[in-house]
C-alpha cells in the first residue's frame, strides 16, 4: 500500500495528540496558556497621538546602523504609499484615510510585534529565534540555515530575507532594540518620538495605560487594545480611534498563539527527523538483502543452465562421435566390400 507523506504526518500528528492528551506532559507546554514572562517589556503605539512625522523611522535607522533610506526621513510624501518593512527598514509608518472622510488622516507604525509566543520561533527548526525575558524576539544569524520558514509562519509578514546577498544572507527584522534595552536605554523609535505616541514599559503597565485612555476618552478610542490577546498576545500593543481594519491590521487572527495551532504537527517534526535515518537505513538494508538474494539466485541459475548446456553438448558430441564411428565403420565396411567386389571382378576377368 502506498503511503503519502501527508498521510504519514497525519498519523503522526494524531499519535502526538493522543500522547499529549494521555501521556506524560513532556511536550505539553505548548498547549498550556502562556501569559508571557513576568515583567516583560513592551511598547504601546497610540494611533490617536501619532502625527506621522517619520521620526521613529529615522531613529530606528540610526540606532540599528541601517543603510540610508531611498527617500530622506523628512520627506513625508512617502506616507501616501503603502510601504512595508524590508531588510534595510525595520519599521515604517503608513497613512490611512479616516473612514469617516473629513477628520484628519490616521497613521500606523509597522514593525515586528514581538509575539509572546512567536510563530517564527516555533517554525524555526534550528532555534534561530529566541523570545527573551525582556520581551523581544531576537534572531541568531549564526545558526540560521536560510529556510525562510519564519517568513511564512509570521502572521504579520515581518521577517525579511537578504536575497541580494550571495554570502551569508540573514533574516532581518526589528529587535525591539534588545541590545539597547538591556543597557537600560529606550528603543530608538520610542526615544525619538516627539508626541509620546509610543510608550515603553512593562507590558502589564502599558495595558493599564491603554485602558485608562479608553476610560478617559470613550469617544476617542475604540474599546480594544490590539495585541493584548491577538495571536496569544504581543509585546507591541496598539490603540486606535477607528476599527483596526481601517488601519489594515488583521482582525482575523484570533487569540490562539501560533505554536499552539501547530503544536500537533510540529511535535512530529523531531520524530520524523529522528526516524528518517532508521527508516532509510532499514530500507537500504532491505534493498541490499534483496540484491544479494537475487545475485545468488542468478548465480545458481547460471550454473544450472551451464551444467545443462554442457550435458547436452556432451550428449550431442557423443552421439555425433557414435554416429561418426558408425559411419566410419559403415564406410570401411563399404570400402572393404567394394574392394572385395573389385577383386572378385578382376579375378573373374583374369579367369575367363
Amino acid at each position: 500500500m502506498p503511503i503519502s507523506r501527508r498521510k504519514f504526518l497525519g498519523w503522526m500528528g494524531a499519535a502526538a495528540g493522543l500522547s499529549t492528551a494521555f501521556g506524560s506532559p513532556v511536550h505539553a507546554a505548548a498547549n498550556k496558556h502562556f501569559t508571557g514572562y513576568p515583567d516583560s517589556l513592551g511598547i504601546l503605539f497610540d494611533s490617536m497621538l501619532c502625527i506621522g512625522c517619520r521620526k521613529c523611522e529615522a531613529g530606528c535607522n540610526k540606532v540599528n546602523e541601517l543603510p540610508p533610506p531611498d527617500q530622506p526621513f523628512d520627506d513625508l510624501t512617502v506616507l501616501s504609499k503603502k510601504r512595508r518593512t524590508d531588510t534595510k527598514t525595520f519599521t515604517v509608518v503608513n497613512r490611512y484615510d479616516h473612514p469617516q472622510g473629513t477628520p484628519p488622516p490616521l497613521f500606523r507604525k509597522i514593525q515586528c510585534n514581538h509575539c509572546l509566543e512567536p510563530a517564527c520561533a516555533s517554525a524555526c527548526f534550528v532555534k534561530a529565534f529566541t523570545k527573551t525575558k525582556q520581551g523581544s524576539v531576537v534572531y541568531d544569524a549564526s545558526v540560521c540555515v536560510g529556510c525562510r520558514y519564519c517568513m511564512i509562519a509570521c502572521p504579520f509578514e515581518i521577517p525579511t530575507y537578504e536575497y541580494d546577498k550571495a554570502l551569508a544572507p540573514r533574516i532581518r527584522k526589528c529587535t525591539m532594540c534588545h541590545p539597547r534595552v538591556i543597557e537600560g536605554k529606550l528603543p530608538g523609535c520610542v526615544e525619538i518620538c516627539p508626541n509620546e505616541a509610543l510608550s515603553f514599559g512593562k507590558r502589564k503597565d502599558l495595558i493599564k495605560i491603554a485602558r485608562e485612555r479608553i476610560r478617559k476618552y470613550p469617544d476617542r478610542y475604540e474599546d480594544h487594545i490590539y495585541g493584548e490577546h491577538e495571536m496569544g498576545g504581543t509585546s507591541w500593543l496598539y490603540l486606535s480611534g477607528v476599527p483596526f481594519k481601517a488601519l489594515e491590521m488583521r482582525e482575523d487572527l484570533g487569540v490562539t498563539p501560533a505554536p499552539e495551532l501547530t503544536a500537533g504537527a510540529l511535535s512530529v517534526v523531531p520524530m520524523v527527523a529522528g526516524l528518517w535515518p532508521v527508516l532509510l537505513t532499514g530500507l537500504y538494508a532491505v534493498s541490499k538483502r534483496k540484491e544479494k538474494i537475487a545475485k545468488l539466485e542468478q548465480q545458481q541459475a547460471v550454473a544450472s543452465t551451464l551444467k545443462k548446456a554442457n550435458a547436452e553438448a556432451e550428449a550431442k558430441l557423443s552421439n555425433a562421435l557414435a554416429n561418426a564411428r558408425k559411419e566410419k565403420d559403415a564406410a570401411i565396411k563399404r570400402e572393404i566390400k567394394k574392394a572385395l567386389e573389385e577383386a572378385k571382378q578382376t579375378q573373374e576377368t583374369e579367369g575367363s
Partner: protein, 518 residues
C-alpha cells in the same frame, strides 16, 4: 400595509448599472402579514404614479378611498380600507394595478406592466431609497402658525393640528395650552386606534396641503420628494429669528429635587436648587423634544423621581439631569457642546478636562433667602434673582500679570529654545469663547482658562513650571504621566488640531523650533 423603505440597499456589482436614488420608494409587502411571500415584494414609485395621474387629470382618489370617519380623510391603503385576508388583498392589487395599466395603455399612454409577474415582482430593482426623515422644527412650526392664523382674532389656530384624546367620549378634542409634540402620543407603531407617527403625519399634513392646493393657496408638498428628498429639504424656507413659541411656559424655573416636599425622602434635598433659564434654552434648541422627550409635564413628578420610578424607566432625578453622553440631560448636553472646536481646543487635552470642585456650585446656587420658597411665585422670583446674581463672562488675570513670551529651554538640544507666544495664546482662547454664555458661567473665575494648559495647578497667577512634574518619560512610579517632551508636544499639537491651525503644522519641526547654528 405597505411599508416605506428606509434604506433599501441593492447590490449593483454585477452590471455596473447606475442606481437610481429615490425618496418615494414604497415596498409593497402587505402579504407578509399573512405568511411567507411567494414572489419578491414590489417596489412601488409613488411620485412616478402621482405625476402620471396628474397628467390625465386624476387625483389621489384614483387609488385611495375615503375613510369611514370622514369623507375628506383618505385611507393610506391602496384601494381598500382594511387588510382582510390574503386572497382579497392580493386581488385588489392585481385587479386595480393592472386594470389601470391596461386602461392607460389602451388610451395610448405609457403605462406599467400588465400580466408578466416578474415585471413588478422584481428581485433586483436597481433602486436605492434616499428617503430622509422630515424634521418639523421651530421655523416650520412658526410658518404653519402664521399661515393658519384666524382672520378675526389674528391668533394661531392651534386646533388645526394639536388635539388630545377623550377616552370616555372616544373623541379628539383640542385643549388650550396643552399642546405638545405629535410624537408624545403617536409612537413608531400603531397601537389600537392610535395611529403611528408615520400614518398620522401623512394623513394630517398631506390632507391639509391638498385642501390648500384645491383653494390655490401657497402650501407645503404633497408628494414624497417634497418632504423626504435631501435637495428639496434644503429648499424649505427657514426663518432665521423664530419668535418665541407661546404656550404659557415659564421663563425661569427653580429646579430642585425636593419639589414634592416629601419630608420622608429628602436624600437629595442637601443639594442647592438650580435656577434654570428656560427661555434662553428654548432658543438653543430646535424642538421642545430635545429635553422634554416624552411629555411636557414636570420631569420629576411622575417619571424621574428622586429615587426613580417605573414610568421613568428607573432613571432617577440625578441621572436625568446629569447623565453624560445623553442630550436629554443638562450635563449631557453641556458636555456634547464641549465638542465644538473652540471648546475642544482645551477640553480635549489630555489634562484639560477637569471637573473642578467649584463646578457643582455654578449650577447649584446657594439660595439667597433663608427659608425655602413656599409658593411657585416665590420659586420664580428666587430663580430670577439667582440667575441675575451669576457672573457671565470668561475672564483672566490682568495683562501685566501674564507673560507675553515664554522661553522653553529645558529640552533644547538639536534645536534652539522655543519662544512660546504665551499672551497670544491666551487672547485667542479667550476670544474664542467670548460670546459663549455656557463658557461664561464656567470660566468666570480668574485662572480657569489658564488651567487648559496649567492643569492640576492651583488657581494662581504664577503656576508651577511644567518641568516641576513632567520629567523623564515612562516613570515606573507614575505610569500615566507623560514625559516633558511628550507633554509639550501632545498639548500643543492637540489644541492646534482642534482649532484647525494651519501653521505651525505638527510635523513641521522648524515651524516652532529654530535649527541650532553650528
Amino acid at each position: 400595509m405597505s411599508v416605506l423603505v428606509l434604506a433599501l440597499c441593492i447590490e449593483a456589482k454585477d452590471t455596473g448599472e447606475i442606481l437610481d436614488h429615490r425618496s418615494d420608494l414604497i415596498t409593497i409587502d402587505t402579504l407578509e402579514s399573512f405568511g411567507d411571500l411567494e414572489r419578491p415584494e414590489v417596489i412601488f414609485l409613488h411620485d412616478l404614479h402621482t405625476e402620471a395621474l396628474e397628467k390625465s387629470n386624476k387625483d389621489c382618489r384614483t387609488c385611495h378611498l375615503s375613510e369611514k370617519s370622514s369623507k375628506d380623510r383618505l385611507s393610506l391603503k391602496f384601494k381598500r380600507l382594511e387588510d382582510t385576508d390574503k386572497k382579497q388583498v392580493m386581488d385588489v392589487y392585481h385587479a386595480e394595478c393592472m386594470g389601470c395599466h391596461r386602461e392607460m395603455s389602451a388610451s395610448g399612454q405609457t403605462s406599467g406592466p400588465i400580466e408578466v409577474c416578474g415585471e413588478c415582482h422584481k428581485e433586483n430593482t436597481r433602486l436605492i431609497s434616499a428617503r430622509l426623515p422630515m424634521a418639523f422644527d421651530k421655523s416650520l412650526h412658526f410658518r404653519h402658525t402664521e399661515a393658519n392664523k384666524d382672520e378675526k382674532t389674528n391668533k394661531g389656530n392651534c386646533a388645526l393640528c394639536h388635539h388630545e384624546y377623550d377616552k370616555t367620549a372616544k373623541k379628539l378634542f383640542y385643549a388650550k395650552d396643552k399642546e405638545g409634540s405629535c410624537r408624545y402620543c403617536h409612537m413608531k407603531e400603531t397601537q389600537d386606534n392610535r395611529m403611528s407617527i408615520r400614518l398620522a403625519s401623512h394623513s394630517g399634513c398631506i390632507d391639509c396641503h391638498k385642501k390648500a392646493v384645491a383653494e390655490k393657496k401657497k402650501t407645503g408638498p404633497i408628494n414624497c420628494a417634497g418632504c423626504h428628498d435631501a435637495k428639496m429639504q434644503q429648499e424649505i424656507e427657514k426663518i432665521a429669528e423664530v419668535p418665541r413659541l407661546e404656550r404659557k411656559q415659564p421663563d425661569v424655573v427653580l429646579i430642585q429635587a425636593n419639589n414634592q416636599k416629601t419630608k420622608k425622602d429628602d436624600r437629595m434635598s442637601g443639594m442647592n436648587p438650580v435656577p434654570f433659564d428656560h427661555k434662553a434654552h428654548e432658543g438653543y434648541n430646535d424642538t421642545c423634544r430635545v429635553c422634554h422627550h416624552a411629555s411636557l409635564d414636570s420631569c420629576s413628578k411622575k417619571c424621574h423621581t428622586p429615587t426613580g420610578s417605573k414610568e421613568g424607566n428607573y432613571v432617577n432625578f440625578e441621572s436625568a439631569m446629569h447623565q453624560k453622553g445623553n442630550k436629554k440631560s443638562c450635563l449631557g448636553c453641556h458636555e456634547i457642546n464641549k465638542n465644538q472646536p473652540n471648546c475642544a481646543a482645551c477640553h480635549s487635552l489630555n489634562a484639560g478636562n477637569p471637573m473642578i470642585e467649584t463646578s457643582c456650585k455654578i449650577c447649584h446656587m446657594k439660595p439667597l433667602l433663608k427659608n425655602s420658597p413656599a409658593t411657585p411665585m416665590d420659586e420664580k422670583l428666587m430663580a430670577e434673582m439667582l440667575l441675575k446674581s451669576r457672573k457671565v463672562a470668561s475672564s483672566t488675570y490682568k495683562d501685566e500679570d501674564i507673560p507675553d513670551k515664554v522661553i522653553i529651554k529645558e529640552l533644547a538640544e538639536e534645536y534652539e529654545p522655543v519662544e512660546l507666544p504665551h499672551g497670544k495664546i491666551i487672547n485667542t482662547l479667550l476670544n474664542n469663547i467670548k460670546n459663549n454664555t455656557l463658557a461664561g458661567y464656567f470660566h468666570a473665575e480668574k485662572g480657569t482658562v489658564c488651567r487648559s494648559c496649567h492643569h492640576n495647578s492651583p488657581l494662581d497667577p504664577k503656576p508651577p513650571r511644567c518641568g516641576s512634574c513632567h520629567g523623564k518619560p515612562f516613570d515606573q512610579g507614575n505610569i500615566f504621566r507623560p514625559g516633558i517632551k511628550g507633554a509639550y508636544h501632545q498639548q500643543c499639537n492637540r489644541c492646534h488640531q482642534e482649532l484647525n491651525i494651519e501653521k505651525p503644522t505638527s510635523t513641521g519641526c522648524t515651524d516652532c523650533h529654530k535649527t541650532k547654528k553650528k
